[in-house]
Symmetry: C2
């Protein structure tokens, strides 16, 4: 291995990429993270971190910083977007005791900042403006070539380059699947907010073909909202589908609370919602996928970032298991990572779609959903145990293999 060879090159400096950098450095690897943009950072508003992710961030020594800027909600509530009122709730107050770490909501950019500073402290090499065009695995390492002529070489390369990952083409020719839903977002100072839900809760107001999520950020100084709806114009094949006028029309049918909350949403940006179907293979030789590049999912379980964090942690564990190994050892680590992460994330992808259908169901399905929620106590955690429970991320499995 030459002095110029990193042990791991990570393509993509989002939540998944930076966490992978941190987790791999902890395993004693020399790691470099490449970000396409001129600087690290992220557009976006709020992010939800469930205990399956906060447990890992705690292990990475970041939880105190995160708690300082985040909010620990009391409950996740499903509200009836049409009639108002609560349909059901999940109690979060005993999550530290129950799952070893709290449920936290925070600003995405705050999390990015914390991860970036931690990478800098830990000695992760960081490159910006590194727009990767191709990868070449020659059996001894991977050359990662950028548009500006730079080439980075690693013993292995992991692509955490998001929903529209270029690296994914090595594994699948699938296309991102448009759901016909579009999101509008807004995180605004609390003093601009005239209408909010209980500030101790994360609330998802759900109705046929639409929903509105609301929760506080930054110690309650900001209020985060996401409005999502199924576009009729998309179904009709119109190019300007999901525009603000269509949003206004759809949300006009909602209960007063939801109706009067939507004016705070930013109207200049819209996010069409995509996912992909699970694929069985993310690893070939010394190259692997991670995060949305591997398993982009709909947002209904709020697990996109959480699963990327789980990926990073499990990959770190796999590298630790094969510590000191080069060549085949790195390949074995990637395969061990893939073996536990593929089924886990496929389940999350499937369940996120189903959960979205449950949120948006109409007709008799809506009656049945409301009945299920009415009968489920807030302290009944059976349905989230597989997702939030300890030892579900697969890191233990690869360490004990």
């Amino acid at each position: 291995m030459s002095a110029d060879t990193d042990e791991l090159v990570v393509i993509g400096g989002g939540i998944g990429g930076l966490t992978t950098g941190l987790a791999a450095v902890r395993s004693g690897r020399r790691v470099r993270v490449l970000e396409r943009s001129a600087q690290f950072g992220e557009v976006g508003a709020g992010i939800q971190l469930a205990p399956n992710a906060t447990r890992i961030l705690q292990e990475l020594g970041l939880l105190d910083e995160i708690r300082e800027v985040g909010v620990l909600p009391r409950r996740i509530v499903l509200g009836d977007a049409m009639r108002g009122g609560e349909l059901g709730a999940l109690d979060l107050t005993d999550f530290v005791e129950r799952y070893g770490a709290p449920y936290i909501v925070m600003h995405r950019s705050d999390l990015l900042d914390i991860l970036l500073r931690a990478c800098q402290r830990a000695g992760v090499a960081l490159e910006t403006g590194a727009d990767v065009t191709s990868l070449m695995d020659d059996g001894a390492g991977v050359d990662v070539m950028c548009t500006d002529g730079r080439t980075f070489r690693g013993t292995a390369a992991v692509a955490a380059d998001g929903l529209h990952s270029r690296t994914r083409a090595l594994f699948s020719d699938d296309e991102a699947i448009g759901s016909g839903y579009v999101a509008y977002r807004g995180a605004v100072p609390m003093d601009q907010v005239s209408r909010h839900a209980d500030l101790r809760d994360v609330v998802a107001w759900v109705g046929p073909g639409l929903h509105l999520v609301q929760y506080p950020l930054r110690s309650g100084r900001f209020y985060n909202q996401v409005a999502v709806f199924r576009s009729q114009a998309f179904a009709r094949g119109e190019p300007d589908w999901g525009n603000p006028a269509e949003m206004d029309e759809r949300f006009a049918q909602c209960c007063e609370h939801v109706r009067e909350s939507t004016p705070l949403l930013g109207r200049d940006n819209r996010w069409p919602m995509y996912d992909r179907a699970p694929i069985p293979t993310w690893v070939k030789g010394r190259i692997g996928l991670l995060g949305d590049a591997a398993h982009p999912m709909l947002q209904y379980l709020a697990q996109g970032a959480c699963q990327a964090i789980e990926d990073a942690w499990t990959l770190g564990a796999a590298l630790r298991r094969h510590e000191g190994a080069t060549g085949d050892g790195v390949e074995a680590a990637l395969l061990a990572y893939q073996a536990v992460r593929v089924p886990r994330t496929a389940r999350v992808q499937h369940t996120a779609r189903t959960w979205g259908e449950i949120w948006h169901v109409d007709g008799v399905g809506r009656l049945l959903r409301d009945e299920v929620l009415r009968r489920r106590a807030a302290d009944d955690h059976a349905h989230v145990e597989w997702l939030y429970g300890r030892g579900t991320d697969g890191a233990d499995a690869v360490l004990s293999a």
Copy 2:
């Protein structure tokens, strides 16, 4: 009132008409029941009598006879028509204690025979071949004219002439609503049956767009089956929709038990399933509707006959309340009957439709239904209290009015 004037003429000699004859005679009325066919009797197979009906049949002194020829099932079970296995159940064993009378399944013709004999014993006048063409309310009574030239005169007339009631045209110009579902039936001697569910249960095997109901009849000497499916050919507008070949194709996708049960169904007759929307008025002067003529419903709650029996009983109570009254008294009795029966039967009609949708739901609604059923204990009767509970038929309300 002339010697030729009955106090009540009932048009239609089915379950509703005969029970009305009996209930009205108990109120001391002179009653005549007109049947269009050459003899009283009914095609058809099994019938389910819930306690809201058997309580009334008990009051009419018929329950011992009914128990002799009927079967008292232990449970109503919903099975998964596609995967097999139970989705949920309702315990019926404490219904006498809980609701004052048992749940009974029996042959429709056995019930007709019992009602007919009871009418004969009680002195109800019975006419066959009486095909009614028109009614004339002259303010003092109603002339009921038949195709063969006979005219019967009553102080009042009640039409229990079924789904395709001619009399209903006095109240509504609505048409029967085809659901696109079709039923095939069969009640065969038990020794021909190679495949049956637990003989102590009424079992409805439910799946997307289809179901199969199975239960024993005549002390377990016969086995009754009804297979129902949503016809794709109906949706395509084909005239021969819902034919046996289509049934075979649909049920070929079911679990082994359901698949192997369907060959016993009679293939020569099919019953397209209809209902109508509730209407607010069934009574005009001295003329009223009753049973399916007033509120035809889908069969999913097995309440068609039960609601006709409730109608009859409540009308009897209303006539008793206005005992000795003629003229306006009869009109008041009919109005009192209408006032309590219209909302009750509208709820049953609506709920029957919804229950059918629940049986046949697919996709995420099916997941939710299965979850609701899994969580509902067999001894949880909260959802049937409004239907089976004492005092729900409205007779008490008209008596105490």
